[in-house]
């Protein structure tokens, strides 16, 4: 019996632990190909997603009017902001209606109607209200919706430095 086992083991090929030539070539070629493809593709992927990875900075404050010129009667001010949309940078003109409340606090409303996005105007009908020419939505001086629209006018962030009013991004109405 033991003699027979001895004869079988003699016929088996020798077991080698080293890497075969075929494996070595496969690993080397595969690794080199992966390295070259990665070197070409990774910079392109990084380039494509760059706008997504960029830090979203807050809206820039823009100087619009001297504080002394702001009255309780809303005034229309126009200002330009630079806008970044992915790779595309542009300068757009914004409009705000700026006024003071009874306590002297300056606030600025966005004129975009919350119904369907038309532009509202102040006091067109002599009612001391904002009104929308499209579907007659009306808002109070604080931007509170009176008819048609379901929500109040948005506000701009306001900052006052050295007697000058600066406006920033759009925020939900804090007064209505």
């Amino acid at each position: 019996m033991s003699n027979h086992e001895h004869q079988d083991s003699k016929h088996q090929p020798a077991q080698r632990n080293e890497m075969s030539r075929r494996q070595f070539l496969s690993y080397t070629l595969g690794g080199t190909t992966a390295f070259m493809v990665g070197g070409a593709v990774l910079p392109m992927v990084r380039f494509a997603v760059d706008p997504l990875l960029a830090k979203g900075g807050g809206a820039t404050l823009v100087k619009v009017i001297e504080e002394s010129k702001v009255t309780e009667e809303p005034q229309e001010v126009k200002f330009k902001v630079s806008q970044v949309d992915g790779w595309y940078k542009s300068e757009t003109e914004k409009v705000a209606w700026i006024s003071k409340d009874a306590s002297g606090k300056v606030f600025a409303l966005s004129p975009v109607c919350k119904h369907l996005g038309c532009t509202v105007f102040w006091n067109t009908h002599g009612r001391n209200e904002y009104d929308c020419p499209c579907h007659d939505a009306r808002y109070s001086k604080d931007g509170k919706n009176i008819t048609v629209a379901n929500s109040p006018l948005d506000e701009y962030e306001v900052d006052i430095q050295d007697g000058v009013v600066y406006l920033g991004g759009i925020i939900p109405n804090t007064r209505a």
Binding site: G117, C118, T119, F121, T124, P133, H135
Partner: protein, 137 residues
């Protein structure tokens, strides 16, 4: 808003509110160089901004008529386009051009917005009063 911004599922809901059609007329003849064609389209965009942005909740901007044939034929074509636009539901048609020489009498249209003879664009206040007058007529 532009025709292309309206989603299919939104149209029936928005339809009662969007009752005014803005039909731009570029007014080119085909004799323009590429630079002149670019200028024509930029001028048209500038004058259209006076209506598209402030009245986007009630006005639908349609694709522009870029080229103009002989004036009589063009006038007839424009009339029939306006007529069909009204038949399909628009209550008001506003024609707009940045050219000073393109202003035909079109009875089916309700308002023409054009620059003055010197090419100056109308003011916001001017347009606002014309449009309010149209909608309250």
């Amino acid at each position: 808003m532009k025709f292309s911004e309206i989603e299919a599922e939104q149209w029936e809901e928005l339809r009662p509110y969007l009752d005014t059609c803005l039909l731009p007329v570029t007014g080119m003849t085909g004799a323009e160089s590429p630079l002149e064609a670019t200028q024509c389209l930029e001028d048209l965009r500038d004058i259209m901004d006076l209506i598209e942005v402030p009245y986007r909740g009630r006005v639908v901007t349609y694709p522009a008529l870029h080229y103009m044939s002989e004036p009589e034929h063009f006038q007839q074509a424009l009339s029939s386009y306006c007529s069909r636009l009204k038949q399909q539901g628009f209550k008001y048609i506003i024609l707009i051009t940045a050219k000073t020489n393109v202003r035909f009498q079109i009875s089916e249209a309700d308002l023409w917005i054009t620059p003055d003879e010197d090419g100056n664009l109308p003011s916001d206040a001017d347009i606002n009063s014309k449009i309010r007058e149209l909608w309250h007529s």
